[in-house]
Subunit: 333 residues, 2 copies
């Protein structure tokens, strides 16, 4: 199989690619296990440190906003994981950029898959990452909750969902969309997502750095760990297309701890001195956004389809320590 | 005020324009009653018979798919009624055309309003016509029902809604979207909407012509009359923007008679010979689409905001006889 991953230089894509290389196969449209022969990573740039040495990998520089580049990258692909996106706070601050990448970019991918399919190949699978940012402030979200986003990122993602579903219904692609909760703990540096702090309050202390928590301890956040997200992307890819009928977009479940619970678990696992690296500096802007996030996700459909959530905040913290710190905590000065 | 109506050559636009010319005013963004000085009708072409002689009217040929033409038409406009669309069966048969007109066309209008606003004018009002085609087969629809369309027209309209809302939230426009039920009785000829028969089974007999009903008498259809739709468009325009907060799109109510009830009412009003002009020829394709339409609309929000629905099928039939037949039925041979 030939697999394309857009946003291939990003954190999720790297995790996905590592998993796929180890796994070595994916299910094709008929559910048959097929070897992964080529994994094309498509992104504007790639950090040199992230480039892996595997003959199956192809690093392809290109812009998801350029229809021709996208089309070319997807020639003869069997499946596409479309992860390229402008994140929430960035899409909010740079409206046109968000529209171009999140909406037009997605359309370019949809069209490239359609062209690939109409060239006589099997219908191309497309795994699309949407977000719970599509919701509009409800406390409890379930599979029937309407997408009425109150931010540009969510609006663009929700528009992409509609197209993903319609392209699938028309038989142009075989699409599968996932509405992801906040992903913690992200490695690396804080990004421009409004939810960036959710990772920072675990990652920064555990790497010996101080950080600021801009929201109150009783703020709820529905979260999913990187490992669970990667499992979900692969599971969504491998499920038969009919599983998603008639609506190709699925809410993923996740636990929704409070920020206080997260920090408490951090203290238990690593010690109070690590938790003390968090300074509490309320930011009304971010608090306001976080207040609009759901406090509970009732993702029955995902559960029935076999998607897994994390069982506890402890598990999420442990995962970060294992995967990103090789199991070791730093010595605090 | 300077008002632009896209799809200005269409049936709804003509009705709207007639109403606006008689009324003579609309509310501006501050709720102040302002005289309508110019009404710009924007469409690909205009039928000569439809062209009215009024100094306030400007007929402007142009393509909603052309950003520059749209921008130019909307220079210095205060409000836009965006009615241009490719209807359901057409959008289904011609996917790319539907995307171009219904989605890209809407984006052109949104951008033109945004440019107009950023030029230092007051925020432009935009009334957007969406449809209950955004729903995905639920029997009962209410204000919280998710838009999960199973047709291209509905998908494109729902994507437009998301953008309308986000442009409004950003302060780029002052948008108001209405999800319209099936509009009956449309004058003129059958069109390419899957719901076209719903008007034909009243209009054709009442103009002395035979027609075919492709669905069973027990099929439900949520309907609204042209008069109520025009009232709704004007009401949506004149309401304060805050009325729509935080979600700029509104489900309109309507009665949902069965096809049998419609035909029975036709027989009562006009006589059995008229009803006998309907031939019943089941068409599985159309029956299937109609089966997916809601059987009841619970549009509380619209009711609270003062939108009116028709009270009976008799009223709808009477309206057609009055407005389109000058109160007179033809003599049947």
């Amino acid at each position: 199989m030939r697999i394309v991953v857009t946003g291939g230089g990003g954190f999720l894509a790297q995790k996905l690619v590592q998993s796929l290389l180890i796994r070595g196969f994916l299910a094709d449209t008929k559910g048959r296990r097929q070897e992964i022969e080529k994994l094309v990573l498509f992104d504007l740039t790639f950090a040199e440190k992230d480039v892996l040495d595997d003959p199956r990998l192809e690093y392809r520089a290109g812009d998801v906003c350029d229809p021709a580049q996208v089309r070319e990258a997807m020639i003869a692909a069997d499946s596409v994981f479309h992860l390229a996106a402008v994140v929430s706070a960035d899409a909010e601050a740079n409206f046109d950029r968000g529209m171009r990448v999140n909406l037009d970019g997605t359309r370019n991918v949809l069209e490239a898959c359609r062209v690939g399919t109409s060239a006589g190949n099997a219908v191309m699978k497309l795994v699309y990452t949407s977000s719970i940012a599509v919701y509009g402030g409800e406390e409890v979200i379930d599979d029937r909750t309407a997408a009425t986003p109150l931010n540009s990122y969510g609006s663009q993602k929700a528009a992409g969902e509609l197209l993903l579903n319609d392209y699938s219904r028309k038989g142009y692609i075989d699409g599968r969309g996932l509405r992801l909760p906040t992903i913690i703990v992200r490695p690396g540096k804080p990004n421009k997502a409004a939810s960036s702090f959710a990772s920072s309050i675990i990652r920064e202390p555990l790497t010996g750095k101080s950080t600021v928590c801009p929201v109150s301890p009783d703020s709820h956040m529905p979260v999913l760990s990187p490992r669970r997200v990667i499992e979900a992307l692969i599971h969504a890819h491998d499920l038969p297309g009919e599983s998603f009928h008639p609506w190709r977009v699925l809410l993923l479940g996740g636990i929704a701890p409070t920020v206080g619970e997260l920090v408490e678990a951090l203290g238990h696992r690593a010690g109070k001195r690590f938790a003390d690296l968090i300074e509490w500096e309320p930011d009304q802007f971010i608090q306001c956004i976080v207040n609009s996030w759901p406090k509970r996700l009732e993702a029955k459909r995902a559960e029935v389809l076999g998607f897994q959530r994390d069982s506890s905040v402890e598990e999420i913290i442990e995962q970060f320590i294992e995967e990103e710190l090789a199991g070791k905590l730093p010595h605090l000065a």
